[in-house]
Amino acid sequence: MNLHEYQARAVLKAAGIPVPDGDVAATPAEVEAIARRLGGRVVVKAQVHAGGRGKAGGVKLAADPAEARKHAEKILGMTIKGLTVQKVLVVPAADIASESYAGVILDRASQRPVMMVSPAGGVDIEEVAAQTPDKIMKLPVDPRYGLLPHQAMRLGFFLYRDLAQVRAAATVLQQLYAAFVTVGASLVEINPLITTPAGQVVALDAKISVDDNELERRPHVAALRDVSAEDPAEVKARDAGLSFIKLEGSVGCCVNGAGLAMATMDLVKYYGGEPANFLDIGGSSNPDKVVTALEIITSDRHVKAILFNIFGGITRCDDVANGIVTATGRTGLKVPIVIRLTGTNEDLAVSILQRAGFSALTDMDEAVKRAVELAGRAA
């Protein structure tokens, strides 16, 4: 789960990291009032879960409160990478002496949290890593001891020469690591971490991604989820315990298991079709889940054919068959459906489906081919 910048700033602030004043707003009038309070010269920043906000015109400098209001009128409601801007963050325009980068990521290879700092801040860190990797220092942290003071100092010396700034950075880095652990993050980033002309070290922008598996035991973090910033179908799926991602194609896929779901999408493409979605109904055998899954798939008007691919293990094929019969009986189906079931209680499932007038296949390739064909015919 990604936090908005204004939420991430609050997390950093609570950890003791110097963050400029500022506030979040949903209307141009609020923006103007905040700008006035902050002294006039401000930056108005779109709050959406997308990179490249600046390039898209979602970050604007204003010389006075009236201009801030004008910017807000444009930015609020604009679409960035398919996401509508509903809130903006208003912060004072900062005087910047230098820009660095500081972050913590969960590193798969070392199986540890890794601190990353770079004196080349303010740009995409992946670009820095690709073009000037010597400008990045990485330090794996033993999570049992945390970021030790001398390690934080070493990272600080990589960023700054001035001892006061090195110490300030070391403190920020330890606070950043603490924030990472406190919210159960998979990534926290300050980019840029600036120095002001007066020599202060300040976090100007913040990004936090939380490990979804942490949310159950951290309700205060889970409460930060902004469902209005997400695709409604994906929200509905998550509430039902399904894993769903909308794509652009015409073959709606309903599969048990993430790996098989991906392989099914790939096979749709292999046979010349385009998958409309990724959908994993999970390992349990609950007919209600199948009903919700079908509702979600059929609500996408681009879907021209529906493909079920179920390999019964823990999931019982008869439960899925019952779900299909219930859902189609309730909502009716306007597009053709191809069902492939094999494994646990396959025979039972086939007879349930046959009684309801459906036929079922047992071979994955055949089923995918037929679904692609049907979707093509309807287009």
């Binding site: 798969r108 290879a109 049992r144 159960g184 790996g259 991906m262 790939d266 019964g312 994955m364």
Partner: protein, 292 residues
């Protein structure tokens, strides 16, 4: 022979009285796995299915029954502690089925296990099966068949699909291992490749990877240098959009890294036969003169 689990495996089931634990403990017993004990705190003294003794702690279970492997079916929030408990009891093979274990927990679990010389398979995995000998986890027994192909995979049902294709063609398996779909896992592809290479009863290896991370790329490099047995591989997620988590916590393309194309290229460089779809597994093995 087989890898990691065989007839000498003496299994303790952590969470044996729970919904998932009891269902799968029964299935493992029916398959012939030597389930010697179960653990559920507060239920010590009971018998599971009238024959398997239940203990309050893994330490007791290990001391009383000589258990040498454990399988974990507890809810995610208790999973890390269940792994620590197994390691503290001297268990050397821990298989964690539970899904949803926080990754930060895993960063602490891994050094703990290394210090105690214990191997973890998972979390968020279907476990392992050595057909005809032993099943630890949830891989359906009936789809497998005894044979010479080693299967290692980050997935669950996709693995079943490919095992099913093998079995239907008469190609049995030595051991099938689901290593799990999380970003940090106890046993990776390289560990399994090394084990299969050393196993005299494994003749060929099937590797099923997916988008996210660099495990497959590293395994391909390792295979080119250290594995003589034929390998065929599949990568799921060729049509997955970047930046989105595809069900598995670890299945995400971050930036330009972890794509299917990158992994397939690594397979090709290493001489691994690339399956374009699951049904390619049998023809590709046959091309490599693998028969059963």
């Amino acid at each position: 022979m087989s890898v990691f689990i065989d007839r000498a495996t003496r299994l303790v089931v952590q969470g044996i009285t729970g919904r998932d634990g009891s269902f799968h403990a029964k299935q493992m017993l029916e398959y012939g796995t030597n389930v010697v004990a179960g653990v559920t705190p507060g239920k010590g003294g009971q018998k599971f299915e009238g024959k398997v003794p239940v203990f309050d702690t893994v330490a007791e279970a290990a001391a009383e029954t000589g258990a040498n492997a454990s399988v974990i079916y507890v809810p995610a929030r208790f999973a890390a502690d269940a792994i620590y408990e197994a390691a503290d009891a001297g268990i050397k093979l821990v298989v964690c089925i539970s899904e949803g274990v926080p990754v930060l927990d895993m960063t602490r679990v891994m050094p703990y296990l290394r210090e105690r010389n214990a191997r973890l398979i998972g979390p968020n995995c279907p476990g392992a099966i050595s057909p005809g000998r032993c099943k630890v986890g949830i891989i359906p027994g009936p789809i497998c068949r005894e044979g010479k192909v080693g299967v290692v995979s980050r997935s669950g049902t996709l693995t079943y699909e490919i095992i099913h294709q093998l079995t239907r063609a008469g190609m049995g398996q030595s051991t099938c291992i689901g290593i799990g779909g999380d970003p940090i896992i106890g046993t990776n592809f390289i560990d399994c490749l090394a084990a299969f290479e050393a196993d005299p009863d494994t003749e060929a290896i099937v590797m099923i990877g997916e988008i996210g991370g660099t495990d497959e790329q590293q395994a391909a490099e390792y295979a080119a240098a250290h594995v003589g047995k034929p390998i065929v591989g599949f990568i799921a997620g060729q049509t997955a959009p970047p930046g989105r988590r595809m069900g598995h916590a670890g299945a995400i393309i971050s930036g330009a890294s972890g794509t299917a194309a990158e992994k397939i290229a690594a397979f090709e460089r290493a001489g691994i036969g690339v399956m374009k779809r699951p049904a390619d597994v049998v023809p590709l093995l046959k091309e490599r003169r693998v028969t059963a």
